[in-house]
């Protein structure tokens, strides 16, 4: 698998994401770290990951400035050509701000930064990010965010539900998200945005491995395609 991680000023999960992805790359061709000021991407990429953090200090709105940085034109083009894009936490906020995913992430309903392990329900197995999970399976994943309260108009929520585009939902909604939504897929199911951090729970030394199957899913898709 050939993957790249985009780095913005204030990204802080970029190296964790690279470690998680490098389990599925070769030593000869490891994850490429791409600075936001670049205008082009490395060639022949399979997957772009937009990591968590506080890009540009969350100024204006979370992810708003990052979504307009030079590299994002290339990321949007990559996604529009059918490339796989994963946005985690701040990466999810960047994806909604850039228009690659619908809706918006607002301040948590209790106004608090929440950092804890929570339970997620896998809502669909039919995506190349979730194929190694079972539908309705409950998995453990950490969350760490202040603005994870998913909000969209009624038509968008209906569209997400009707077309099986909700990837993960919260078992016990921590942040007020509509429909308990924790992660959603694009229309072509190749862009996934989620607030929880699968890259933080992918090794027994970190306390669990439930996050690893997300990366395994995309890897298996790519090697068998």
């Amino acid at each position: 698998m050939r993957a790249a991680v985009i780095q913005f000023p204030g990204s802080n999960c970029d190296r964790d994401m690279a470690v998680a992805l490098n389990r599925f790359t070769t030593k000869k061709d490891p994850v490429k770290m791409v600075w936001h000021k670049e205008s082009g991407l490395p060639g022949n990429l399979d997957l772009i990951a937009i990591p968590g953090g506080f890009s540009f200090g969350d100024y204006l709105r979370c992810g708003a400035i990052a979504a307009r940085s030079p590299i994002m034109n290339a990321v949007i083009e990559f996604a529009n050509n059918g490339g796989y894009v994963l946005g985690v936490c701040n990466g999810f906020q960047v994806l909604t701000e850039s228009g690659l995913l619908p809706g918006a992430l607002m301040r948590n309903s209790n106004l608090k930064f929440i950092c804890k392990n929570i339970q997620l329900k896998v809502e669909t197995q039919s995506s190349n990010f979730t194929s190694c999970y079972s539908k309705n399976e409950i998995i453990n994943t950490p969350i760490a965010h202040h603005d994870g309260n998913y909000n969209a108009d009624k038509d968008t929520i209906k569209e997400l539900k009707d077309h099986d585009r909700i990837a993960f939902s919260y078992v016990d909604n921590p942040n007020g998200s509509m429909g308990n939504i924790a992660g959603i897929l694009s229309e072509n199911r190749r862009v996934l945005g989620m607030m929880p951090h699968p890259e933080r729970l992918n090794d027994p030394m970190l306390g669990g491995i439930d996050g690893n199957r997300l990366f395994q899913s995309i890897y298996e898709t790519l090697v068998t395609s």
Binding site: R61, P102, L111, N149, N151, D153, G176
Partner: protein
């Protein structure tokens, strides 16, 4: 030429910060505040001198960056 942009949450979008401010006003003894909606004000200094052109430029800025029209409304005043 100066412009002022007011960004507010769309009606119906939950505003937990506004609700917290309302609660705090109540605890300070300000009774009779039914609802608080919090927004932001952005002021810009522009080189453009034509108010009509300036307004149209700032509206374009709002659509592309200053407001997230999924959840926010904006209004532009040329000062």
């Amino acid at each position: 030429m100066k412009a002022r942009v007011n960004v507010t949450l769309k009606p119906g979008v939950l505003d937990p910060q506004g609700a917290a401010v309302r609660h705090s006003l109540g605890s300070l003894g300000f009774a009779g505040v039914d609802k608080v909606r919090q927004g932001k004000v952005i002021e810009l200094d522009l080189t453009e001198n034509d108010p009509i052109k300036a307004k149209s430029q700032v509206e374009d800025m709002c659509e592309k960056l200053l407001a997230n029209t999924v959840i926010e409304n904006y209004s532009v005043e040329i000062l």
